[in-house]
């Protein structure tokens, strides 16, 4: 009976109710749309960086991240790599070794990171082998060859087949010097990688840099990005089993992409906090206007409530009526908003959403120019829940007012 009454009450002021519904609906749709875009672009930024080069997790010697010296190595990397592959959450893993070096062509010299990568495993943890635009990703697992990014190749004025002189530091501290041909040029889309990364087969690296079979890190690609902490725990346990007395030699550490790429995490957090500020102000405005509507409708009906109470309705019942009215209002708004929001998300999910002029900025974090938002449970459900809650909050004041009414007072009200 109450619901029926509430429904009829709502439509006594069609225009006002519609405006409130549209307000709530608009807020829901906007929140859903922006959250869809936002979460998806973080996702693709993380995915791009992770799958391009860095991996979800990396196992490194203690202190290597802060000061990557060539002599800090993983002692028995093959054994560790083998035991990693038995973990079900590990999709792929590969060894890498690296050293900073000077690269010199005929007349130009640049500094870059030389990375020794496993010919067989690297394509499973990094997409660089898949974005070779010219030449090949090495001819064999011990080929005396290098590949580099387009930007570096342009800086050095190199073409596939040209020789490059490399001066770096070996594991024993001596000067590592070699002349190797450029076998391939990759275009990863990341300026940073295209300018700073030079790869060669791991065995070639170990030979030229006196590594004696050692490596510097193990890159791990997880099956799912959502359970990295538990995977990290599992790997740490495996490591501590093979380092029974850590006193003599510090065991390697397991780092997540958040630690490997602190810049990416920070920019996501910064962006997120701006996002929340925007959402919060939107919700606040909608809440205030809904509260205003509800208060108005209560205040102008005080006499009517007086009549109801005189006929035996308790204040609780009347309050319940108001709550149901506002809930109906809220549900209606949320339904319409969600329908609209999902439609917009679906449209851009197919056609892609891009903000003109941001492509350059996005490129720094390997985010493709257009974002294709996904319709996930979180994206669709958060905004309606929050708005229903705020609509309920907005009824607190009118309800309090009604609860204090006595029939006599109410009947005498204007």
């Amino acid at each position: 009976m109450i619901t029926k009454l509430a429904w009829r009450n709502l439509w006594r002021h069609k225009r006002r109710t519609l405006l409130s519904v549209v307000g709530i609906g608009f807020a829901v749709a906007v929140l859903q749309f922006f959250m869809g875009i936002q979460l998806k672009s973080y996702d693709s930024a993380i995915n791009a960086s992770v799958s391009l080069y860095y991996g979800h997790l990396q196992i490194q010697p203690e202190g290597y991240l802060d000061d990557p010296e060539v002599r800090k190595v993983l002692a028995a990397p093959q054994a560790l790599l083998g035991s990693l592959k038995s973990i079900t959450d590990v999709k792929a893993a590969a060894l890498r070794a690296s050293s900073f070096a000077l690269l010199s062509s005929e007349d130009r010299t640049y500094g870059a990171q030389i990375v020794g990568v496993e010919f067989d495993n690297e394509p499973h943890v990094s997409s660089i082998p898949g974005v070779i635009r010219q030449g090949v990703f090495f001819t064999s697992a011990d080929a005396q060859q290098i590949i580099m990014g387009r930007a570096l190749a342009d800086n050095l004025r190199l073409r596939v087949g040209d020789s490059v002189t490399i001066l770096g530091q070996s594991r024993d501290g001596s000067l590592a010097a070699m002349v190797l041909p450029l076998a391939g040029i990759f275009e990863s889309g990341s300026r940073d990688l295209d300018r700073n990364i030079v790869e060669m087969p791991l065995r070639t690296f170990q030979e030229n840099f006196g590594m004696e079979g050692a490596a510097h890190n193990i890159v791990v690609r997880a099956r799912s990005a959502s359970s990295l902490e538990s995977l990290r725990g599992e790997i740490s346990r495996i490591i501590s089993r093979s380092y029974p007395n850590p006193g003599t030699l510090a065991p390697p550490v397991v780092l997540t992409w958040e630690e490997l790429l602190p810049g990416l995490k920070e920019s996501i957090e910064l962006d997120m906090s701006f996002g929340w500020l925007f959402y919060f102000s939107l919700i606040l405005v909608v809440t205030l206007s809904v509260a205003n509507t509800l208060l108005m409708s209560v205040l102008e009906r005080v006499r009517e409530f007086g009549v109801m109470m005189s006929l035996g309705a308790t204040p609780k019942r009347v309050a319940g009526l108001i709550v149901v009215e506002s809930l109906l209002l809220g549900f209606l708004g949320v339904l319409i908003g969600t329908a609209f929001g999902v439609a917009v998300l679906r449209y851009y999910g197919v056609h892609g959403f891009s903000i003109p002029g941001t492509e350059e900025f996005l490129k720094i974090w390997n985010i493709p120019g257009a974002v294709f938002p996904e319709i996930t449970f979180a994206v669709v459900s958060i905004a309606p829940c929050v708005l229903l809650l705020t609509v309920l909050l907005a009824t607190i004041y009118p309800v309090c007012k009604v609860m204090r009414l006595t029939p006599v007072q109410a009947l005498h009200a204007v």
Binding site: L102, S104, T109, G111, T165, Q169, D172, G173, S174, L175
Partner: protein
Amino acid sequence: MIPRFLYFLLLLLLPASLFAQDATEIVRAAIDYWRDTTSYTEAEMTVHRPDWSRSMSLRAWTKGQTQSLVRFTSPAKDAGNASLRDGRNMWSFSPKVNKVIKIPPSMMTQSWMGSDFSYNDLTKGDDIVKLYTHRLLNSIQQDGHTHFEVEAIPFEDAAVVWGKEVLTIRDDHIMLRHRFFDQEGRLIKELTAREIGQLGGKLIAKRIRMEKVEEANTWTEMAHQAAQFRIEFPESTFTLANLSNPQE
């Protein structure tokens, strides 16, 4: 008639500028004394890490403040590697690839031959005199010598990575200590004289150590075993041809 306050102003300014002059002179004298007009030295360089250490032998020629050549003689792996400096330019040569590489300016802060010296440390010459303002912090008497402590701050427009450097110089021009501070005033590196003795006919810091302050047990030591000063070199000593194809 000169207003009276000008006298006060002069009184206030004069000592300060005199001290600054003094401080600059102290630094200049120390730099000139060490490099002399020309020098030839033989030294052993030891790179030390907490769990590891490595020594190399080298020979070095310098002329004035702008030219130097360093050639490694042992161990066999490093023999023949050489570095040439002319002014702000630096070239590296490795017999393994038989090629001269010019070190790009962006790489000058990198480690030289895996040591705690950067390329900049080797190429700066008398920058500490020309590109810095100097202030005498204090002078103390110790072991029958006066030790001057001079603060050197690079000019605003000088291309120097350090925020400030503090030098401790003995009254016989020997640099006892050279401390490098970053822009925030944190001590980063420290160069100290570990042994002072007669070499090549004069008293010099025979053993010097460059230390990274924030990392324990991380240093590079240069122990000079032979030295000659004010000798004649052939014109060709500091050329790329000599770097890649030694004449002696």
